[in-house]
């Protein structure tokens, strides 16, 4: 059986982490393709619903990338994000979703290297943690396989 490849939803701030991801891409700093990037205008725009939805859809981890405190284009959206993540972590923990599955990281636009490090580290840690309790696919019918065998 092939190695477990965790799925990570990345909510990246347009002004920093999203650009860092682009930089990493074009600087050929390859980072794990486990991250599905969704561009946000600000980490403070990440509604708790998005995080919950991601986990419910089977994400093994959620990475929110924002600007360093003081750098936020919208003054303090990142600080708001930090409080929300703290709140969400507490709720998720209560129901068996390990806090190591929800990451908030400050990654500036020029920090393509850091993005790669964070993405790699998170992927490694999630591999060690194993699939999310919401991603066990117990009853899943793999339609692809079905269609081939059919």
């Amino acid at each position: 059986m092939s190695e477990f490849e965790p799925k990570i939803v990345g909510f990246f701030c347009n002004w920093c982490t999203f650009t860092a991801a682009d930089l990493a891409g074009t600087s050929r700093l390859s980072y794990p393709s486990n991250i599905k990037i969704i561009r946000m205008m600000c980490s403070g725009m990440v509604d708790p619903k998005y995080v919950i939805k991601s986990f419910l859809n089977g994400a093994d981890g959620v990475l929110i990338g924002g600007c360093w405190p003081g750098d936020c284009h919208y003054i303090n959206g990142n600080l708001k994000a930090r409080r929300r993540v703290a709140m969400l972590t507490e709720i998720l923990k209560e129901y068996g979703i390990d806090e190591r599955r929800l990451w908030l990281r400050w990654i500036a636009a020029s920090e393509g290297t850091m993005l790669r490090e964070v993405a790699t580290e998170m992927t490694h840690k999630l591999k060690a943690l194993g699939p999310s309790p919401l991603n066990l696919d117990k009853n899943q019918i793999d339609l692809n396989r079905d269609s081939k065998t059919a």
Partner: protein, 1044 residues
Amino acid sequence: MAEKKPTGTILVAGAGVSGIKAAIELAEIGYKVLLTDASPQIGGILAKLDNQFPSDHCGMCRMLPMVGREYASQYCMRKGLYHENIEILPFTQVKSVEGDAGNFTIELLQKARYIDTDRCNGLGECISVCPVEVADEFNHGLTQRKAVYKPVPHSTPQMLLVDMDACTRCGECVKVCPTNVINLDAQDETSNRQVHAVILASGVKLYNLREFEDAKSWAVSPDVVSSLAFERIISGTGTFDGKIKRPSDGKIAKRLAWIQCMGSRNRRQNRDYCSSICCMFALKEAVLAKEKGGDDVETTIFYMDMRTFGKDFYRYYERAVDIGVKFVRCRVQAVMLNPDTSLSMRHYDSQDEEFIVADYDMVVLATGQIPYETHKDLADLLHIKVNAQGLLPTETYDKVKLTKPGVFVCGSLMGLTDLSEAMSSGIAAAGQASRLLAGLDVTIIEEEAVPEPRAKDREDPLVSVVLCKCSDKVEKSSVDFGALEKGLKKLMAVGEVNIIDMVCSDEGKETVLDLLKKSKCNRLVIGACHPFIYRNALKNLAKKAGFAASLFEIIDLSSIVHKGFFEPNRSESGAKDQTREAYNELFAIIENLKLKPALHVETLPINQTALVVGGGIAGMHASFSLAQRGVQVHLVERSDKLGGYASTHVNHTIDGLEPVSMAKDLAIKILEHKNITLHKNCEVAATQGSLGAFETKIKDNENQENIYLQHGAAIIATGGVEGKTAEYEYGNSDLILTQAQLKTGLDTGEIDVSEAETIVMIQCVGSREKQENVKQDGQKQGREYCSRICCVGAIANAMTIRQKNPEARIFILYRDMMTYGFAEQYYTQAREEGIIFVSYTLDTKPRVALVDGKPVMTFLEPVLNSEIEIPADFLILSTGVDAETSNRDIGKAFNLPVNQDGFFVEADSKWRPVEFMKVGLYVAGTAHSPMTLKDAILQAEAAAQKTYAYLSGRKIHTAHAISRVHDAICVRCQRCVDICPYGARSYDEVLDRIIVDGATCQACGMCGVACQNNAAEIMGFSDKQIMAVIDAKMSKNTIGLAAQ
């Protein structure tokens, strides 16, 4: 047929932050800007700085336009800039400037990059094969780069170039280039352009410690670095990923020292000026070193005067002291290299009277500016002569206006500036240029008419997908485009899928345009290689084909395709994964587009009237600047006459200004100007509204009536007053005066100093001290800031006394002489005139006793470390500048923040110094913080320009993406109002609902998250869309691809 008027065009030479700011300001009005830079990139020094005082972070993107943000780039500024009205020309020198104001012909020399950056994909295949390695300028030689390189590693688009001096012409890069854009035989190109005005923003060179005569004393090791090189060391993107390591051996550095005034304040080397920003630079670096390096990092700053003169600078210094940065007031003679490669320096401790030799791991030199050469070159370019100081000659009162008409300066050309001044001066220079252009027969770039919504935009979503094959790149990649096309076509919302070769090429674009014009779809996705490069070309393409801007998306196929490109030998399952990945990305963007409403801009009417609060010099200057450009101005002054503080107290200044007569002249111009309505004896009572439509109630105290003024924007220029004190026996003797009293007394002759033997002045009375330490009438009275004008003011008064009485002994007791910039020369001159300067600290404040009515001074002479007692004929106190007491009331009326010192708090201390968070409200002069006359005028010009940018048109358009309120489900809890960082939301009690100011809203989405049921929502960024994107990205549904 009437000849078409030319578009107003301005050359901004120098694309550092002040040049960029000037360019953006002019572009916002609608003028065309040519923004050149001699270096291969834009951003100047700031491209290197990750951390800027006072937040120790960046936030550079905050200088992007607020209104009309969609015309400009919306990404990190340190990566680059785009604005529809700005033509950016890096690696371009201005070779000549001929002609006069309003009609310049400039010759530009565009240096060959040897790479066609329009077609380069920025992926740097060439870099990996280049065999040449040279020191990298960007990291100050701390790292190596290739001959073909990216000048700013993190810029976007990545504008590569070949360093022909280093290139061996081996041709490897040409061979490997996938897009065939390298031409090693490219030539420099010259071109002539017509412009109406010129703004010089090229900055000045910094002292290079390895080039100059003292080098042998300092540059004894690679571990002695300049402060800019140190920025690269602490930068997260820098040489050591932000770890503070020694360049020589890469070992962690724990003992760090900074040496100030390197290359400046040096009369011997003909650099008798202060570089102004190095003190804050060193403070910031020392603080950062401690924060990044850990508590065990020792930081020592060797200095002469800590020049913490700007707003909040002193508090930052206090913070540095608190976290343990050590300050040593001593200049050292040399850095010595120890046998173990550590560095050592010896200094003298005057208090303990002993020499101390200490070891350091690294030494940072605060290398100052060297302006004369640059100024000389620019003067030659303009066919003018430098002034007596060797600098470009400027108008007496306008720092940004050269005596040569039509040419303006900003940024460090005026003298090394901090960020805030770089911004103000950039805006002010733009303002001066726009004043010139307002009087010329030129026009602005016509704004495209807002397109009418098409009928089909309202129909069910149908998406046209265009995918670029990107020539052979895709052939090499393992994404199966055929399968992708088939899969996408199965989606209900997809109307058509077209795969085109090279969308970026002219033929490609035409093909796409033809296809799209015939399309029945109402939404469009283009998958192209590098959206940052092609975004605008593709946006125009979509527009031409009639697609609504909000119903068009570009997707970066490159990141997926390139993966295949770089790893062509991926396994079959890997290739399938990749195709699936591309499918999922496209699926997500289609899902998003499907749910996106057609957004249209709102057009807001603009009342082209400005309100200026305060009739001091700043207020008058701003009013006149606006009136001259045809803006109607209401000028509100509390007293019964114009002029403010400077015009009543200061007849002449040390730099030859005559504020009283200048204010008088200005007042006459104000009174005579048909566009200005003066409201004397009036006070602001209340304001409501937003940009373009404010209404302010003013109280006419004379006629006891209320007046209601309608205006589109307002400038707060309330000024300041001389500080009060009860220290040093003030008030108990006629011989103890404030500087202002002395000045007036000397001018009127009421104070006779001809017989005086000894005159003592004390600086910083009640200033730069914790508020709680200084009490007066039981009130906390300390000014925890530097008032900026007192040191030069004291010197001016001392020199006047010296003229009247050459025999008098004059002592100036100071803490740090704040004679920054070229004011340093006054300080030198004063010493030359025999005025004696004695420093004191908060622990060794001078003491005064009244003996027979005469002040007898006792103070510590710090050099000789002994107490001096001396009777004085006069004791003069520099009591600084207090904020206008009315600031708090005005702040309340406009809902503007006032800091603990009573000055107004600007939107951003670095990037938006004359703006308030609320769009349409601006600040100028001492209302902002204590400042010199010239700085107040500079700010007034800047505030007027900000105002003019919006009031020059009858209407403005909001952005497409702004937030809105769903009243029916809104509970009016006002969490959105509280959380909005821009004050764009308010609760209207009469209507009982939440109002959004569309011009101010920046679509940050804070309201949307704060509002738990989406009654507040960003149009085009709805929860519904984002959740659909999550669904799509996480979708395991590969039915679309199953048939492959």
